[in-house]
């Protein structure tokens, strides 16, 4: 305080002085304020009023010492529409989706499930290098995707293939990306399941977790500025929600008033880490209010609950320019990926419970059956048909060559820098001499001038790259 008093004597405040500087020199309080010049004060507060004046919080005083006890015994309730047998609980919550749409939901989930089984197996056989299944979480994908407009921008983590499936991304392209073959729109650059589709407004997946969260917020801000009447949806797991980027995204979305849906798939595990080791509060939904975000927790295995929550969140996010947080509770039935064996950290009984007793596909099938929109015969036929479709796409994908090795070098920048072109030429020369030591027979070599022997217009013969 001595410094401030000394300062006050030496330095006379002038008209240009900001409110903040005034407060540095003068002790706030009845006497101090009486001495300051009223016309310079920007705040409207009376020194006789005992209400809190802090800019940082809008709250009353309390004179009893009390810590807020976080409530994790009885957390935020879980919204659902169907029971585990697929029966509507509260008819007023039934979205009354038309038969077409419900069948589309069902077929998207089951086709995804079939594709997952076949591609998981293909990794086991060394045909693709890596795969991640979506078992148990199909409901979170299609329920939310069905509630959006087709042009709403999607930022995902890596376990949202059902969103693309619902948007009719062809099997051929799913497979092309996993095989990194010549049809891959991503040009073979990323590991399997890192899908992207500009046409279907699905931003390409990247491996670092939660990085998409603040990006989705920026995209939503731009959509707001453009009066696009679009929402951005951002998917992430409960593990990724621990990253700093998640905190950043939530805070920015709220302060900058962005039309975004944050959709958290809480599936119980982040690889081997159970939720009890991921957080100690009431999941992710409870964090929303901390940021000033409207939040809800839903049963992620109930397609209609996911649909209803997403639908309403979308409507309000766009109309009111504010973020919404949906925490969809679900269970990861499969392993984290083909590099994981989850029997190392959880019991087979636990997994079986979810597979048999609470699965989004079976719950919706029960609903379909009870509506008379589906039967055993159709189920058999569809299983056969979807398997056939997947197998055909799979065999096609296997046969295609890999992309041209020149594509290793493009798209780093929009234009290729001189130094990089030199490196590209250096590889071409290297392959001229040492080409036999490289798996060139699997790759498209058309237009590669350094390979006079291979510069034909024909694709190479069938050859299967095997991953150890």
């Amino acid at each position: 305080m001595a410094v401030a008093i000394a300062a006050a004597r030496v330095w006379r405040p002038n008209r240009g002085l900001s409110q903040a500087a005034l407060l540095l020199l003068w002790r706030p309080g009845a006497r101090g304020l009486a001495r300051s010049h009223p016309h310079r004060q920007q705040q409207q507060f009376s020194s006789l009023d005992d209400k809190p004046q802090f800019p940082g919080a809008s709250a009353e005083f309390i004179d009893k010492l009390e810590f807020i006890q976080p409530n994790v015994i009885s957390g935020i309730p879980i919204y659902r529409v169907m029971d585990r047998q697929g029966q509507i609980i509260n008819p007023s919550e039934d979205p009354h989706l038309p038969k077409e749409k419900v069948l589309k939901l069902y077929k998207s989930m089951t086709l995804l499930n079939t594709m997952d089984r076949i591609l998981y197996e293909s990794q086991r056989q060394g045909r693709i290098s890596f795969y991640m299944t979506n078992y148990g979480e199909e409901g979170t994908h299609v329920g939310s995707a069905a509630a959006l407009d087709n042009t709403d921008l999607v930022f995902g983590q890596y376990r949202e293939a059902g969103v693309l499936m619902y948007r009719d991304y062809p099997l051929e392209l799913f497979m092309a990306q996993c095989y990194g073959n010549i049809s891959d729109l991503g040009k073979g650059r990323q590991m399997p399941v890192h899908y992207g589709c500009k046409e279907r407004h699905f931003v390409t997946i990247s491996s670092p977790l939660a990085t998409q969260i603040p990006q989705a917020v920026g995209a939503a801000y731009a959509a707001k500025r453009a009066n696009a009447n679009r929402v951005v949806i951002c998917y992430f797991g409960e593990g990724a929600a621990s990253e700093g980027d998640a905190h950043a995204g939530f805070n920015f979305a709220a302060t900058l008033e962005c039309p975004i849906i944050f959709f958290c798939r809480n599936n119980g595990y982040a690889i081997s880490t159970p939720t009890s080791e991921q957080y100690r509060g009431d999941g992710i939904a409870a964090r929303g209010p901390g940021y000033g975000i409207m939040s809800i927790r839903v049963d992620g295995n109930d397609v209609f609950a996911v649909y209803n929550a997403t639908k309403e969140a979308r409507r309000r996010a766009v109309a009111e320019n504010q973020p919404f947080l949906i925490e969809a509770m679900t269970y990861r039935i499969g392993h984290h990926s083909t590099s994981d064996d989850s029997s190392a950290y959880r019991s087979v009984d636990e997994v079986n419970y979810w597979d048999k007793q609470d699965h989004p596909i079976s719950r919706l099938r029960h609903y379909l059956l009870s509506q008379g929109w589906w039967d055993e015969e159709q189920e058999k036929a569809w299983r056969k048909q979807s398997r056939k479709k997947v197998m055909e796409a799979f065999e096609q994908a296997e046969r295609k060559p890999k992309p041209n090795p020149n594509l290793l070098f493009s798209d780093v920048y929009q234009e290729m820098p001189a130094q990089l072109r030199k490196q590209q030429e250096s590889l071409a020369r290297h392959l001229q001499t040492y080409g036999e030591h490289y798996p060139l027979e699997h790759f498209d070599k058309r237009g590669l001038q350094c390979f006079p022997d291979f510069s034909t217009a024909e694709a190479p013969p069938l050859a299967r790259m095997i991953y150890p």
């Binding site: 410094v3 000394a6 300062a7 030496v10 330095w11 500087a21 921008l153 930022f155 891959d184 729109l185 991503g186 040009k187 073979g188 650059r189 990323q190 890192h194 992207g196 589709c197 500009k198 931003v203 390409t204 990247s206 670092p208 990085t211 969260i213 603040p214 990006q215 989705a216 917020v217 920026g218 995209a219 939503a220 801000y221 731009a222 959509a223 500025r225 453009a226 700093g244 980027d245 905190h247 950043a248 995204g249 805070n251 920015f252 302060t255 900058l256 493009s410 798209d411 780093v412 920048y413 929009q414 234009e415 820098p417 001189a418 130094q419 990089l420």
Partner: protein, 375 residues
């Protein structure tokens, strides 16, 4: 934070009078260090229309003003940019273009860059400010793993080319560890982004406009010591200076000197000293773009002179001079008359009170040059 607080008291004698009661105000003034360089303005540019005297922060404001005027999607955001910025680079822009286009974000660098990437993904122009280059590190993952790789990893389906990150950079006399850093070397190792550093107001405006319009994510480091200290005639209208093109600002025949940012003015002075004291003719090159860098201009010069000295404030080991040195010795080995010399900061964090000893000043550069000539 701390920086702004002390600025308010400067020039009043308060801090010195109170904290050093035994010293006179004159002694204290003598003890304050003189800048280690003299800013050399370039001749008034004639080809871009009417000019106005601007210092570096004003030339940045001018570039931003031009950008927001011609690109309705362009937005500027970061900590404290709304009121004008801690270095006054964004003064007046919020009033002129609106609070949806010039706005503060929460205090979170990883959020600022991630948010900026998202805006750019939709095709809008995002101009992010990181308050000091020293604080860019929380955003390193978003820059290196995301921004730089967006186009490549998506097979060109998506990109964030319309993102530009601006940040104050380099020594300022008293900045110490966390207000003086030159982190360009960390980013030089990252294909997919561009890193640009101007030496002057005229260069800054043209290069910044090029970065904003470039279809790749760019980092634009602004030498903070030049914000006020460097002033010259700068065109009012927009203009572009090309990226990835070094500039030979003075031709010479005996030694090539390469630097960027503030250090260009140091080596310019070294060139004069060399001429005067040693009769040596120096070719002075401002690199301007760190990556992708202009290998041809530098090599062409070294082929002519046979000697190369590179200087930067950033620490020696792993500094960008090592990349230049390595490439030049590959390309120009037989032309070299002496080992390539690097005059850089020491391999320490940037010190406070020891700054005059730390920085690669003209005496160290001159001494290295002398040794190269006598090799």
């Amino acid at each position: 934070g701390a920086e702004g607080h002390w600025r308010r008291f400067r020039g009043v004698g308060l801090a010195r009078g109170f904290l050093h009661p035994s010293a006179t105000v004159e002694d204290a003034a003598q003890r304050r260090q003189v800048a280690h360089f003299t800013f050399q303005p370039d001749p008034e540019p004639r080809e871009y229309g009417q000019t106005q005297k601007m210092n570096l922060f004003q030339s940045v404001t001018s570039a931003l003003d031009n950008s927001l005027a011609k690109d309705p999607t362009a937005v500027i955001f970061g900590e404290d940019v709304a009121f004008g910025g801690v270095f006054r680079c964004t003064v007046g822009l919020r009033d002129k273009y609106g609070k949806d286009r010039v706005f503060n974000t929460p205090l979170c660098e990883q959020g600022i860059v991630g948010f900026g990437i998202g805006i750019a993904v939709t095709g809008a122009t995002a101009i992010a400010e990181i308050q000091f280059a020293d604080y860019i590190f929380p955003a390193f993952d978003q820059i290196v793993n995301e921004a730089a790789k967006y186009r490549y990893r998506s097979g060109d389906l998506f990109n964030c080319g319309s993102l530009t990150i601006r940040s104050p950079w380099g020594c300022v006399g008293h900045g110490a560890l966390y207000h003086s850093q030159s982190p360009e070397a960390f980013f030089a190792h990252c294909p997919g982004i561009k890193v640009v550093i101007p030496r002057s107001p005229f260069q800054a405006k043209g290069l910044l406009l090029s970065c904003i319009e470039d279809k790749n994510p760019c980092i634009f480091f602004e030498p903070k010591i030049l914000y006020r200290a460097a002033a010259e005639q700068v065109p009012i209208e927009p203009y572009n200076i090309p990226l990835s093109q070094a500039e030979v600002i003075q031709e010479g025949s005996d030694v090539t000197l390469v630097a960027w940012g503030t250090q260009v003015h140091v080596i310019r002075e070294v060139a004069s000293m060399a001429k005067e004291k040693l009769g040596v003719s120096c070719e002075v090159i401002d690199l301007r773009t760190i990556i992708p860098w202009d290998v041809d201009t530098v090599c062409k010069s070294v082929i002519k002179t046979g000697r190369l000295l590179i200087s930067h404030e950033a620490p020696l080991t792993g500094g960008f001079a090592s990349e230049i040195s390595s490439t030049v010795q590959e390309e120009c080995f037989l032309n070299l008359e002496a080992p390539i010399s690097r005059v850089c900061g020491y391999d320490t964090p940037f010190p406070h009170i020891f700054e005059p000893f730390y920085i690669p000043d003209k005496w160290k550069c001159y001494d290295a040059l002398r040794k190269m000539i006598n090799y």
